[in-house]
Amino acid sequence: MRPEEGVLTSRSRAIGAVLALLTDELCVVCNGFPSREAFALRDRPENFYMIGSMGLAPAIGLGVALAQPRRKVVVFDGDGNVLMAMGTLATVGALKLKNFIHIVFDNEVYGSTGNQPTISQTVHLEQVAKAAGYRNVERVRELDDAIYEAKTMLKEDGPSFLLVKVSELSDDVGRVEIEPAAMTDRFRKAAMKGTAS
């Protein structure tokens, strides 16, 4: 157990708090526990839950944000996920999309496979994001700060990167009960709402 674990909020509390702020934003959630927790906490048609293709959540989010420039796109990600496809931080920095918000719940472990350590304790991902060219970058350790920064980022022009330090505890939640192909259809409909198809 990490020394500071006792004072850190759980990822599911942080995910729940940010989800509660969302209105019509489109939200892409990375694979593993973040998707399962988000599905259990507040399922909505604007959420796309990933299983598999680890690392690709921000890439998918960028595609949505490019196709729907008037919609805000929020990506829920994890430290292991970001480390797996760190090049995408550079793509975000190069594209500079105003409607892209990247929220990383950093627990310093691969939670879905048994809490093996990642390297995010030493490599601070928000510094990588800043170097890559994200417009707004914040790192927070308290739930209240996470809510404040997320609220701010939802209002301002992106790309924004919020790193929320969370404990390695996972909720006892089931799998996402939406078939992948049905997931695509539901999210696509929500993403294209109001645009001619």
């Binding site: 892409v28 796309f48 990933m50 299983i51 598999g52 293709s53 680890m54 690392g55 690709l56 959540a57 921000p58 890439a59 998918i60 989010g61 960028l62 595609g63 949505v64 944000a65 490019l66 196709a67 729907q68 496809a85 090049g87 995408t88 550079a90 793509t91 190069a94 594209l95 992948p180 192909a181 997931m183 695509t184 999210f187 696509r188 993403a191 294209m192 645009t195 198809s197």
Partner: protein
């Protein structure tokens, strides 16, 4: 005989493709130059990232195409099988066939020989573009794309497009 890259891009745009991303290859240089000129190309840093962007764009209402050298197919395997094929996320794959006919640099030889087998293995329909049949090839890809909602590949060998 070669087919002009700009006419090839126009054909793709005429059948509806309106989102292009990928990682360059010399064989695809002409196509990418035209796409950049038409402000229609989003550069990716890895081929699986390009597949992710294409999937997001598809869900945002676009009809996506992903350009890559066949070496990128190796990088893309997990995205293809755990994103595209299970979520039914279609895209057109424009893949340069390096190592075709065993004539290329050594690093392209193994992939050049196994590429079509890899595509068959993951059940991705593919067709090799010929300058004489470009229109039919693009038409086939567009039709297969709509019908199956999975990635469909057009393979491009050296010298077919100018």
């Amino acid at each position: 005989m070669t087919f002009p890259a700009k006419d090839f891009v126009s054909l793709l745009q005429e059948v509806g493709f309106d989102f292009f991303t990928g990682v360059p290859d010399s064989t695809l240089a002409g196509i990418i130059a035209v796409l950049i000129e038409r402000r229609a190309y989003v550069p990716a840093v890895r081929e699986d990232e390009a597949l992710g962007m294409a999937a997001g764009a598809y869900m945002g209402g676009k009809i996506p195409a992903v350009l890559m050298q066949n070496s990128g197919l190796g990088t893309s395997l997990n995205a293809l099988v755990s994103l595209n094929l299970i979520y039914l996320q279609p895209c057109l794959l424009l893949i340069s066939w390096r190592g075709h006919d065993d004539k290329d640099a050594p690093e392209h030889m193994v992939m050049g020989q196994m590429m079509t087998k890899q595509l068959d293995l993951v059940r991705i329909p593919h067709r090799t573009v010929r300058a004489e049949t470009v229109r039919e090839d693009v038409g086939w890809a567009a039709q297969a794309f709509m019908a199956q909602r999975i990635p469909v590949a057009l393979l491009i060998t050296k010298g077919v497009l100018s």
